[in-house]
């Protein structure tokens, strides 16, 4: 490699990465490949598709990381290119913006006054000295710093607003970097895990989602109680876990965990994610029938075991136990096998009254939902011996504050970029016969419509001020 080549190479790369054309191309490529990831099922969901693909296609997809696209090397390289692109673009353009920020234009420039629209100039009565003093006072009330230059016949003023507007775009670019750095911090120093805890039990480790490994927390968590509330229509209203945290066996904290209200302990955050139940213990049934007397027969039964009916006409068993059958609360499925005749089965709900009101009529009439379906017996469900477990998402993400900072800076940067502009205003006061001519001109780095409105208002206010003064 020759010397000139090594010198030229960095320039080539610099030239490539400082082009906004590359930015647009990268943004569009990222958009298109992101679509892929929403069409191809990702991670756990990919299994279904994997079965349909042939082994060769599957291997191709697998080697391209298409089943976990957003975490693949090539996707990260694309994002890395975008980051590099915006860093170099910003570095490339920053000196220019700084120059514009620092520039001190001369008050007596004549170029802005070329082709001045007629509504930006007017004649007024008065003398040059007095008028220019009023103009100066007026402009000082509008601009932080007003520079002027006096010649014998003409007095020039210059004021400006929004110089910082040149930096808005760099804030936005910085914010993208902050968010990317925050997400990197999270993926290097954080973890995502989950754990199921049975009511009354303690855990000290959680299962990592990515690595199929467990992670010791360094403390213990106990689920004291889990509960679900339902609306009248059966939709879930609230999931609630009562948790206790222990350090070295001593209780350190009690907390209530709800969806949307995570609990933090020692830098680890717990989220209510799912729940479930295991059937521990027995189902408590009551059975009434004329032949067994006025008192109901109470029975504690286990699932899938056969029991004799109290009157001895046959046997029955509990085949299914549901904590919340069709949103109507606990129910069990009972199979009755009489000594003679066909087997019957039906659901028995704990809350009979609620079922009556809520079940659609055809269903309520069907024997499937009639606890007296096996004549003359009527079954009642007193208690379902279930135990809940709470499913927790357990995360640590030290990058989150950085990401939020990035978001804040981004919105702030947008406001500066889109809604502020660097407006420079020149005002010229000159004698014209025995009257005074006042001309107002301006330039702006963006938003020409806004500038025009700004200048019109300035001219109007200035004219009013001068009129007041004369009166």
């Amino acid at each position: 490699m020759t010397k000139s080549n090594t010198e030229k190479n960095p320039n080539l790369i610099w030239g490539l990465f400082s082009s906004v054309r590359l930015t647009i191309v990268l943004l569009i490529i990222l958009a298109i490949v992101s679509i892929l990831g929403t069409v191809i099922p990702q991670q756990q969901d990919a299994l279904g598709l994997a079965k349909q693909l042939g082994p060769r296609l599957f291997r191709l997809f697998q080697s391209l990381d298409l089943f976990d696209m957003y975490h693949s090397i090539w996707f990260r390289i694309l994002i890395g290119f975008l980051a590099l692109n915006l860093v170099i673009c910003s570095l490339d353009r920053f000196p220019n913006s700084l120059k514009r920020f620092r520039a001190v234009p001369k008050p007596d420039r004549s170029k802005p006054f070329e082709h001045l629209p007629s509504e930006q100039t007017f004649l007024t009565e008065g003398n040059l000295k007095g008028t220019s003093a009023t103009v100066a006072r007026f402009l000082r009330s509008r601009y932080k710093k007003v520079r002027n230059k006096e010649t014998q016949k003409i007095i020039y003023f210059f004021g400006e607003k929004g110089r910082f507007s040149h930096f808005g775009v760099y804030l936005v670019h910085l914010s993208v970097l902050l968010i990317l750095i925050g997400s990197l911090l999270g993926s290097f120093f954080g973890f995502e895990a989950f754990v199921n805890i049975l009511e009354g039990e303690r855990i000290d480790a959680v299962a990592l989602r990515k690595e199929m490994a467990t992670l010791k927390l360094g403390f213990e968590v106990r689920c004291d109680k889990f509960s679900v509330d339902f609306y009248e229509n059966g939709a879930p209203k609230e999931y609630r876990s009562d948790l206790s945290f222990f350090i070295d066996g001593k209780e350190a904290k009690k907390a209530v965990l709800l969806v949307n209200h995570p609990v933090q302990f020692r830098g680890v955050t717990f989220y209510q994610q799912s729940y479930g139940s295991v059937h521990r213990g027995k189902v408590r049934l009551r059975i009434s029938a004329p032949q067994i007397g006025p008192e109901d027969a109470a029975m504690e039964v286990e699932a899938d075991k056969l029991y004799d009916l109290p009157g001895g006409e046959g046997q029955f068993s509990v085949r299914d136990i549901r904590d919340n059958m069709m949103g109507l609360g606990p129910a069990v499925l009972i199979f009755v096998q009489p000594k003679e005749g066909k087997e019957t089965h039906f659901w028995v709900f704990r809350n009979k009254e609620m079922v009556k009101g809520r079940l659609p009529l055809p269903m309520a009439r069907s024997p499937e939902f009639n606890p007296s379906a096996f004549n003359p017996y009527t079954f009642f469900l007193d208690r379902v011996g279930t135990k809940y477990y709470t499913g927790l998402q357990v995360n640590r993400d030290p990058g989150v504050p950085m990401v939020w900072l990035g978001c804040f800076v981004m919105v702030f940067g947008f406001f500066i970029t889109f809604f502020t502009s660097h407006r420079k205003t020149w005002v010229r006061v000159s004698g014209e016969g025995d009257r005074i001519r006042i001309s107002v001109a301006g330039t702006s780095n963006k938003d020409p419509v806004g500038l025009k409105r700004h200048l019109e208002r300035l001219v109007n206010d200035l004219r009013n001020r001068l009129d007041e003064k004369r009166r």
């Binding site: 929403t38 879930p236 949307n260 989220y271 981004m410 919105v411």
Partner: protein
């Protein structure tokens, strides 16, 4: 429910204003334009009250929440924001020609909400994941964004139609459409508002997801599609701000951008994901 009955009538009001705006454009009679403006304003006012009424009704049912919780309510809100933004533009620019391109969007959103059999118009209680103050901020910012992009779509179509005009053409319709420079500038303003609102929508969504699901970004299809939309409009803004693209190219990009918005809004429902309650 009274509110949903009223809202279904407003569908016809917006359809009627579309017809009136069209009459104005074809016949060149300003009378129809004024009538259309009054009708649209009346529709917007009644719709505002209907949305408030729906809010009150939800409290009467004992499951009080802002009417922003499912597809039906979001469509109603979407139509409301479109008309609101349009009315502001009409009053500020004093041109009515945009009306004929914008009112169909509001009309279609309301018609879909009120008359599609698959859409549940009853007030439903909030499931635990939706019980958060972020719901209101997230939905409002997102739909202001979508609506601004909807207006940008209308302006882009107008721009492309305006290009068909040549010196010999006599149609009043084309003549009434404002100068393409104005359309281009207005379109850019809409893209900026939409982009800012979409950004705020994504950020508030992230903050919410972080407290509800434990992660601010999970590459859920809706999240990904909102990012895709964001990337498309980011490239629109870069093309215009830095490379100085204008007119036709920008209009086409804005139309592509709105297709992404539509997919983010509706298409994602056909893919599995965490936003299932928005179906």
């Amino acid at each position: 429910m009274l509110s949903s009955t009223v809202l279904s009538y407003i569908t016809f009001a917006y359809f009627a204003s579309f017809i009136l705006y069209l009459f104005m454009m074809v016949m060149g009679r300003d009378f129809f334009g004024r009538l259309a403006t009054y009708l649209t304003l009346a529709g917007l006012t009644i719709q505002t009250f209907a949305i408030i009424l729906r809010w009150v009704e939800s409290y009467r049912l004992g499951i009080g929440h802002a009417p922003l919780s499912n597809l039906y309510e979001s469509l109603i809100f979407f139509a409301w924001v479109i008309i609101l933004l349009y009315m502001i533009i009409e009053l500020r620019t004093k041109t009515r020609t945009l009306g004929v391109f914008v009112t169909p969007l509001a009309f279609l959103a309301l018609a879909y909400a009120s008359f599609s059999p698959g859409i549940e118009s009853h007030i439903q209680p909030l499931i635990p994941a939706l019980k958060s103050n972020w719901l209101i901020v997230h939905v409002i910012t997102c739909f202001f964004g979508y609506a601004a992009f909807g207006l940008s779509l209308a302006l882009s179509i107008m721009y492309l139609i305006k290009r068909l005009e040549n010196t010999q053409s006599t149609g009043i319709f084309l003549k009434l459409i404002p100068r393409s420079g104005i359309l281009d500038e207005l379109n850019y303003q809409m893209v900026v508002i939409g982009f800012l609102m979409l950004t705020l929508g994504i950020i508030t969504g992230s903050v919410w997801a972080h407290s509800a699901w434990g992660s601010y970004w999970t590459w859920d299809p809706k999240e990904t599609w909102s990012l895709i939309t964001w990337l498309v409009y980011a490239s629109v803004i870069h093309s215009r701000m830095v490379r100085g693209w204008k007119g036709k190219k920008i209009s086409i990009m804005c139309i592509v951008g709105f297709c992404c918005v539509l997919f983010t809004y509706f298409g994602v429902n056909y893919l599995a994901g965490l936003h299932s309650y928005a179906k």
